[in-house]
Amino acid sequence: MTETTVVTRSAMVPARGPWRTALADLARDRTAVASLAIFLLIAAICLLAPVYAHDIAHTDPFTSNVSGTTLVNGKTVPVLVPTTTGLGLGVTPIGPTWDIHHYFLGADNQGRDVMARLLYGGRNSLMIGISSALICCVIAALLGMISGYFGGAVDTVLNWFFDVIWAFPVYLLAISLSVVLLTNGLRLGPVSVGAGSLWLPVLIIAAVYVPYVARPVRGQVLALRGREFIHASIGIGGSDARILRRDVLPNVVPTVLVFLPLMTAINMLTESALSFLSVGVQPPNASWGTIINDGLGLLYTRPMVAIAPGFMIVITAVVLNLLGDSVRGALDPKARLRGAG
């Protein structure tokens, strides 16, 4: 009796579900925690951009201040300093003052505060990276599920669609779309996005990466399609929509979640590249890519303008990739086993 009781009580301890297990694994993963903490810190600082610009630096990061002045060591100096030696050619933006109230990281060619633009730029870069990753993953999951589940003509057509997108080098496609859409904006039925809107790079980047997520999802669904529980659902008369929602989707979500931080990092890098090439975020808006572009002409005199956003891109991309690896490890037991082996 005693033994029986022990067995019964033991059996009654609820087993942890896969999600809780994954979360617990993630919480134990120091790399994941550190990466997440750094990412959240960067995001938080960037979200405080308006506070920094308006209440600390008292500057408008979107308005040119070419003829403006600022205080350095108590002296009023021009933001763009004319060369007075030699032939007196050229002007140089003020460099980092390391004074949080006055051009902490210096000025760009338009006399704007680089620090304020760095924070605003980070806000936009992260917004675009995260939004486009979310949109991309949602669309990719949907298309991948439909393609894998229904098979046949639907699968063929959707695969053609993926192949067509995949046939283009991703940057070439993104640049082409950007060049076209940046001129007149996007008008698709009721959807209208202005030429200077941040949503344009979001949608463009999301679109070009859809096959990269949809393909693995489709492959997974193809495998699931032959599993017993799917056959059972079909057997009891479950509708396709119900099966997709109740049986397929929960199995696909971990895959998509693994992709999410990785796609955020990739999309952020793509946004930076597009903005660097002047076909992403449009001035006077800032992103880390546009600030690097602004700093390109100042590499010899004011390298900080390009270095600061470059550093931020590297840090953010690294922590997102580390986080992505940890999420994959937590959600994919096989990967964990491979790692242990």
Partner: protein
């Protein structure tokens, strides 16, 4: 041109009487005995003053990219026009000397300045004898007639603006392939004379004969764009090779004998190469290191400081008769409203624009459309805080008020600029100003190759842009008549140089009157142009920004730098020995 060019009008009488030192052919010391290439021309006699000891060597030029076709009757870029000075000749030429004298027109393939008769409608030229093309064939009157017809057959960019006054040009413009100028350009091989008949007097015509589009080419030259195939010329050099992806090479013309040091002087280097493909940053570094002798492109902003200090002795800064300006489309909102255009003029801080361009030593703010120092220019400024004849400061409050009064506040305004660093920065600044005064400005950067034609075409509905204008020759009409007359506004065309689409019948009548007055009194005409300039600025179809200066950065081994105000640095006059 990339630095855009067009026609202009200066004083006819002064011009026609300006028979400069010409025909001083010959005479001189032995030529470039040190020629490495060994071209026959190396030993060609040169004018007194030619320093043979400096002849020889190879001059290495660098440019970010090639400038398109090598055909001198088609190409319209400063980059190649500079090289054409040493390779091609017209009946007349701008004097190849330093400074203001370079605006003077002198006889080139013509033995003397033309005889002008029939009230200014007939120009009679006597062809210089003994001149040969670089293929060894002599220059004949047949070549002259064929060259003028070829201007129309190849649809030269200036065929309709510079040479449309030649009798028969109208038909040539309509059907270029069958162009026949037998009544407009009449040759007499027996006397080596060429008579050009115009439909109306044109005091600027000598200028138009002195630009590369009027180069005299062999009659056998095919009547189509020759692209990368060099056409034989009569200059001191000939194009030996041209690969737009790599380089072009000029070598001494073996058949060249200097006939006029003013029109076509003997050059110094034996060979001149222009290499393409380096970034501008790399070009600067190459010149600093002595790996190149000169860069065509303007040095980037972040290198100006070091050029002006560490390499000051190698930098030459010259004032240009040119203008950066912001044309506003007067036919579509919001700039079809005078107050909106005035607001832009009040709001722009020209000194900020100057700073972006490189500072006060590289540009000067302006408030009129005729650049300071240009014929007809009068100091006058309707849009400066505190008043005054020259621009001193913007008045943002007034600009905001005008935008409010115009009822255009809140409208979206597209700012179309070129993608190069300076123009993009200027565009960003203009965008910022427009946002400040109440518009929603969107910056539309566009490749330099297409921006200039894009902003001209009304179909593109460009509201405001930033453009530049570099004089073709020193005449007020080159700015006012060419850029802001009804005649130069062609809706729906890529070739509508009146970018603002400004067509004011009253001002147009004043321009016509000034053009007519030029035939009799240059001074009076210039006074009229000055008044027209002010009348135009009252309508504010454009916002003049600044006049630029040009930096020529040369290597330490280069000597004998000479700057023609007309065609800029005289490339073949540089010493590399």
């Amino acid at each position: 041109m990339k630095h855009h060019r067009t026609a202009a009008a200066l004083a006819g009488a002064a011009l026609l009487s300006a028979i400069a030192a010409c025909g001083s052919g010959g005479g001189a010391s032995g030529g470039s005995s040190a020629s490495a290439s060994g071209a026959a021309g190396s030993s060609a006699p040169a004018a007194a003053g030619y320093e043979a000891a400096h002849a020889g060597g190879t001059l290495h030029l660098v440019a970010n990219a090639a400038a398109g076709t090598l055909d001198p009757q088609i190409n319209y870029t400063l980059q190649f026009w500079q090289l054409y000075q040493a390779t091609y000749d017209g009946l007349l030429a701008f004097q190849k000397v330093n400074g203001q004298a370079s605006f003077q027109v002198v006889p080139d393939l013509a033995a003397a300045m033309p005889t002008v008769t029939d009230g200014g409608k007939t120009y009679t030229f006597k062809l210089r004898s003994g001149v040969e093309f670089s293929n060894g064939k002599p220059v004949t009157t047949k070549d002259v007639v064929a060259s003028f017809e070829r201007i129309f057959k190849v649809s030269s960019p200036t065929a309709g603006t510079f040479y449309n006054g030649i009798v028969g040009a109208g038909a040539c413009l309509k059907t270029p392939a069958t162009c026949d100028l037998s009544k407009g350009v009449v040759a007499d091989p027996a006397t080596d004379t060429v008579v050009i008949h115009l439909t109306a007097p044109d005091p600027e015509f000598p200028y138009k004969l002195a630009v590369p589009h009027a180069s005299i080419l062999p009659a056998s030259t095919p009547a189509k764009d020759q692209g990368t195939t060099p056409i034989p010329g009569t200059g001191a050099y000939y194009f030996a090779s041209y690969d737009p992806n790599r380089a072009l090479t000029l070598k001494r013309n073996p058949y060249f004998k200097e006939w006029s040091s003013a029109a076509q002087p003997q050059g110094y280097p034996d060979e001149i190469t222009q290499t393409f493909g380096l970034t501008v940053e790399d070009e600067v570094t190459a010149v600093e290191n002595g790996q190149a002798d000169w860069l065509f492109d303007p040095p980037p902003a972040d290198r100006l400081g070091e050029i002006g200090t560490k390499y000051a002795s190698q930098a030459h800064v010259n004032t240009l008769t040119a203008m950066f300006y912001a044309p506003m489309n007067v036919n579509i909102p919001p700039f079809n409203n005078l107050k909106a255009r005035e607001a832009v003029n009040w709001a722009i801080d020209r000194s900020a624009m100057v700073k972006i361009y490189g500072g006060a030593n590289l540009a000067s703010p302006v408030c009129t459309f005729l650049p300071p120092g240009f014929p007809g220019h009068v100091d006058s400024c309707d849009y400066t805080a505190g008043g005054g004849a020259t621009w001193s400061a913007p008045d943002l409050a007034k600009a905001k008020q005008l935008v409010k009064e115009s009822g255009t506040a809140g409208q979206t305004v597209g700012v179309v600029v070129q993608t190069d660093d300076v123009n993009k920065q200027l565009g960003e600044y203009l965008q910022s100003v427009l946002n400040q005064i109440g518009y929603k400005a969107v910056l539309k950067p566009m490749s330099s190759n297409i921006q200039f034609t894009y902003i001209q075409n009304t179909s593109n509905k460009v509201q405001i842009s930033i453009s530049q204008w570099y004089q073709d020759y020193p005449a007020a009409s080159d700015f006012l008549h060419v850029l802001l007359s009804c005649a130069s506004f062609h809706p729906g065309s890529d070739s509508s140089i009146n970018i603002a689409g400004f067509c004011d019948k009253g001002i147009d009548a004043q321009m016509d009157a000034a053009l007519k007055t030029e035939q009799t009194s240059v001074t009076q005409a210039n006074t009229m142009w000055g008044q027209i300039d002010q009348a135009v600025m009252k309508q504010a179809p454009v916002a003049p920004l600044f006049t630029p200066k040009l930096i020529d950065f040369v290597s330490s081994r280069v000597g004998n730098y000479e700057f023609s105000k007309q065609f800029y640095m005289l490339v073949d006059q540089l010493w590399v020995k």
